[in-house]
Each structure stands twice: as C-alpha cells, then as structure tokens.
C-alpha cells in the first residue's frame, strides 16, 4: 500500500479512475492501483473525440495479457481529445498512469458532479479496504 501513488491534487472514483480538472476540461486516466492490479497492459480501446458522455458510462476497455477490464467516465461532458500515443505504447499506462498514460480529455458539462468525486484521502481508504492477497 505504501508505494501506491495517489496524487493529492486529483479526484478519484471507486472504480479506480482519476480526474485532473483544469478550468472546464478534465483529464482522465486509471490509477496506479488499477494498473498494478491489471499488470502488463497491451491495448487500450478508446472511443472517438466528439462523443457525448454521461457520468458512469463505460468509457473504454483495457486489455492486459490475461484480463480485459472496462473503465468508466467519472464525469459527464464531451470527449475532446484521446491519447493517440496509447496505440503504440499502451504500457505508458503502467509506467506513468497519471502522466503519459492519460487516456482522454473531456469538456465538463456539469461541474456539480466534481464535488461528489472522491478525494485522494477517500480513495486511499477505499483501496486499503480491499483485501490484499
């Protein structure tokens, strides 16, 4: 648990997505905890820019060597940018989940949703609540 990164300035969901809010734009990815659980990521399937998103919708799927996992949009809005580098270097998600491994940028449509997201502290409580094997 000690070495799982949970940057303090970000927002989180209990489905392991993070959110960086800058003005009316949100950058979204999956957390360090999630990428550790999935292990080597080989492919990220993302939708196209322009798509309208509702909070809680499936945003895309992440393929690891032995598992496939959905991930969800933490916030409603319009998808404005997709990280095209992930096509060639999906392992950026493992190496820099909060940096180069970002997945999409969304133009926020409902700012009141942000306050309902988890803080870094709340998120840490969620994952330490999970049984460790």
């Amino acid at each position: 648990m000690a070495d799982t990164l949970i940057p303090k300035e970000l927002k989180y969901t209990n489905t392991h997505e993070w959110l960086r809010v800058e003005g009316d734009t949100a950058t979204i990815g999956i957390t360090d905890y999630a990428q550790k659980e999935l292990s080597d990521i080989v492919y990220v399937d993302l939708p196209e820019a322009g798509k309208t998103l509702n909070q809680g919708d499936v945003l895309g799927t992440i393929e690891a060597v032995k598992a496939v996992s959905d991930f969800y949009t933490p916030i409603s809005g319009t998808l404005i940018e997709v990280n095209g580098d992930l096509k060639n270097t999906p392992d950026s998600v493992n190496k820099e989940p909060y940096g180069k491994g970002w997945m999409v940028k969304v133009k926020i449509s409902n700012t009141s949703e942000i306050s309902k997201l988890l803080s870094a502290e709340d998120y840490e409580k969620t994952i330490s609540g999970n049984a460790k094997h």
């Binding site: 492919y43 032995k66 598992a67 496939v68």
Partner: protein, 448 residues
C-alpha cells in the same frame, strides 16, 4: 476399441482406496431407489459382430466413390490427394483435437500457423484465424464482427447467397433486433444481384453488405461495384468465396473485401454426408482484435529459436466473457490441417489447374445439357463450377432415374424454395472425366 478393467485391476483399485467392494461405494443408495432388472439394451456384440453390423449400416449409403457425383450447393466432389490422409491419420494429429497446453504442442500450432498463412495468400487478406465451424457460421459471425467494428446495426444481404447460410445468419442474429434486408435479384431474371436495389437499401446505419461470389447459383456477382456502394456509406463489405474459385478469380482482398469468409470443404475434405466442414474467416489487419476464434502467432523463445503461440487471447470468450464477439468454443483443426496439406501439396499451379479444370468441365456439361430437348440453362450470366438447369421433367424423377445408373444428377432446388420448381443445381469438378460427363448427358437425353 474398448479395454475394460480385469478383476485384478478392480481388486487393486479397491485395495488402494481401502474399500472392500464396489457395492460398498454405493451402499448409501436406498434399496427402494435401486433399479432391479435388466437394462433395455440389446445384447453385447463381439468386435467381429460390431464390425459386420456397422459395415451393414454404412453399406446402405450410396457414396461418391461408387456414384458419379454432380452435386454442389456448398459441398463438392473435388479430388482428395492420398497424401492428405497420410498426414491426417497420424495419431499425433488425429487423436488430439485441441492442445490444452497450447505451447507444448508446437507441431499443432505450426500447422495452424501455416494454415493461416496459406489462407491469407489465397484470399488476399491480412489475417486469418485458425478456422470456424463452417462457411455458413463464419458468414454469420462476420455480421457480428461488422456490427462491433462499425457500431452500426443494419445488415444487407444479397438474396443470391446459399439459403442455408441465410438461415444460419437468422439463427446467429435471433432476438437481437438487427434489421436485415435481403437484396438484389429476381430469380426469373438474372440469378445475380442488381446494384440499384443495394443503392436503395443501404443507409448510414448499415454495418455491412454481404454477398457470395460465386453465388448459390454458381454465378459471378458484381463485387467491385458492391464494395464501392458499401464503402461509400461506411459499411463493411463481406464476401463469401469458394476457395477453389480463387485459383481462377481475383481474391476478395483485391476488390475491397473487409472480411472474407468461405467454406473450406473443397480443400481436401470429404463430403461425408455434409460434414465436418471448415469455416474460413479472414479480415483486414485493422480488425484483428475483433476476429473470433484462435490466432496462432510466430515468435522466438529465450534462446532465440522460432516458436509458435496462441496470440491475442483476450479476444476470446474465456477471458472477455460476454464482451467477446463470439462464443465459439471448439474447432475444426483436423479439417484445417487437411486444407493446409491440400494447399501446400497442390501449390499455386495445382490450385489454378483444379479451378480451370472445374470451370472447363462444368461449362462443357452445361453446354451439352442445354442442347437436350426439355433442358435449358436458367441463367445467362458467367458461372464458375455449377449452374442451374430448367427441366421439363420433374427434377425428383430425373434424380431418381439417374440414381439407378449410379449417378447423383444434381439438387432439386424446390427443397430450398417452393417457387423454384423444375430447377436443378448441377456441378462438375476436375474429378469428372469426359466419359463421365458424356455418359451423364446421354442418360439425360434418354429420359422420357
């Protein structure tokens, strides 16, 4: 062969588990639930009696070794080179239908890799999987792949595809509310699709356009134009092509197919009363992650030696579960092996020769039959290795009479559609000699 346990075997096993008798193991079953009597089964037979019994049953079938066959409609009498059985019947291939620890079975994986490579060359496509159950279900699965890729729903299907393939597509799309439009021809006119009907039917919700080329009637379709129509509306173009036809015709990859499927039975697999068959499924490189079934890849081990592995397994249902594009869970690997041996043995030239021979013989036959009083060709468009004949006499009468002469004359088309009366589907492959063709024509002439 059945090898039962001897009394000594049983004694050893019971001793090992510390039980005095078999009865002791089932002693918990109450007496009133026990069946007391004899099971209503025939008496057991010795190996000699079983063999005689099976031979007798099998002997009731007429087969393509004893009969001259002009049957087609998806399953054909092409010649099967002796070398195929020589490889197929090796117990290493014959008994292990699938490798459960795949990477330990390098020979099996290599054979599948070669199969995939040969099929890609033949169909002019980027990727082939390890095979599907048959051409019909491969065609149906292609619809789902197209829907996954385009995220659209509507499917447009040429009405000149094999009617059974059409039924299988129904089965695979049952309950999913997918708009399916049958498009194209009027039987009495053309026997191949009219492009205007496709132009009218296609829209921006169309996921795919499906056509069989050559089609069910043996006739060539305007595939280049259909590809254009499909792509203009961002729909995928899916083609079902007979593999032998590709010894003569341009391959699907060259005229715009996004997904190409086919029935592999013509590649060294016996007709066997309709199965087992081999589904061929190929696609463009971009769509590889949507391809169902197994994919074998080539790589190197830690010592740098070539090795074969199953790749992209996250496509498959044992990992992707309900998100997989297919629930395919068994395989036709032995049939794929037959196709691999056939293609590598025949080679490019051999495949060309078989195609040209089949083309020539079916055209000779069609020409000769059309000269007989009471027989005419139903359609005038170019065909490959089968054709439809309009008959004055009832097809079932013709078929019955020719059976007496040990000839399978063709298929009575009324079994597919009540409106297809007095029509027969007849095929001639490289396996027919001129004498056989002439004998057939002579017998047809003599029918009253």
């Amino acid at each position: 062969m059945y090898t039962p346990h001897t009394p000594e075997d049983k004694k050893l096993m019971l001793e090992k588990i510390g039980v005095s008798s078999f009865e002791e193991l089932i002693s918990v079953i109450p007496d009133k639930l026990r069946f007391k009597g004899k099971l209503d089964l025939p008496e057991p037979m010795s190996e000699l009696e079983v063999m005689k019994h099976c031979d007798e049953i099998a002997g009731k079938n007429s087969n393509q070794k004893e009969f001259i066959s002009f049957l087609g409609g998806g399953v054909y009498d092409h010649y099967i080179p002796a070398v195929i059985n020589h490889i197929l019947l090796r117990s290493e291939f014959y008994t292990a239908y699938t490798p459960y620890q795949a990477e330990v079975s390098q020979g099996t994986l290599q054979a599948i890799y070669e199969y995939q490579s040969l099929i890609c060359e033949l169909y002019g496509m980027d990727v082939s999987n390890a095979g599907m159950y048959d051409g019909a279900s491969a065609f149906a699965e292609a619809c789902h792949i197209a829907r996954s890729i385009t995220k659209k729903n509507k499917i447009i299907i040429a009405d000149t595809i094999h009617p059974y393939y059409r039924e299988v597509i129904n089965t695979y799309t049952h309950g999913l509310n997918i708009p399916i439009i049958d498009c194209g021809s009027e039987l009495d006119n053309e026997g191949r699709v009219g492009l205007e009907k496709f132009e009218q039917a296609i829209d921006n919700d169309t996921a795919a356009v499906l056509v069989q080329h050559p089609n069910f009637f043996g006739i060539l379709e305007p595939v280049r134009e259909l590809a254009e129509i499909a792509h203009k509306h961002s729909a995928l173009f899916i083609v079902c092509a007979d593999p032998i036809s590709l010894g003569l015709l341009n391959p699907p990859g060259s005229y715009g197919a996004d997904i190409a499927v086919g029935e592999g039975q013509s590649l060294g697999i016996s007709a066997s009363n309709g199965g087992p068959l081999l589904g061929i499924l190929t696609c463009r490189k971009d769509y590889i992650r949507m391809l169902p079934g197994r994919l074998v890849g080539k790589t190197v081990d830690v010592e740098g030696k070539t090795g074969y592995v199953l790749v992209l397994q996250t496509r498959e249902q044992h990992i992707r579960r309900d998100k997989a594009t297919s629930n395919i869970c068994t395989n036709e690997a032995l049939c794929a092996l037959a196709a691999t041996v056939y293609l590598s043995y025949m080679g490019k030239q051999g495949t060309k020769d078989v195609a040209q021979d089949s083309y020539a013989k079916s055209h000779y036959l069609a020409h000769e039959i059309s000269k007989i009083n009471g027989f005419s060709l139903a359609f005038k468009h170019p065909f490959f290795k089968e054709f439809v004949v309009k008959t004055k006499l009832e097809p079932n009468y013709i078929i019955a009479e020719l059976m007496k002469q040990k000839i399978f004359a063709g298929i009575d088309m009324v079994r597919f559609d009540n409106n297809w009366k007095n029509l027969m589907l007849i095929s001639a492959t490289e396996n027919r000699t001129k004498q056989e063709l002439d004998k057939f024509v002579k017998l047809l002439k003599e029918l009253r």
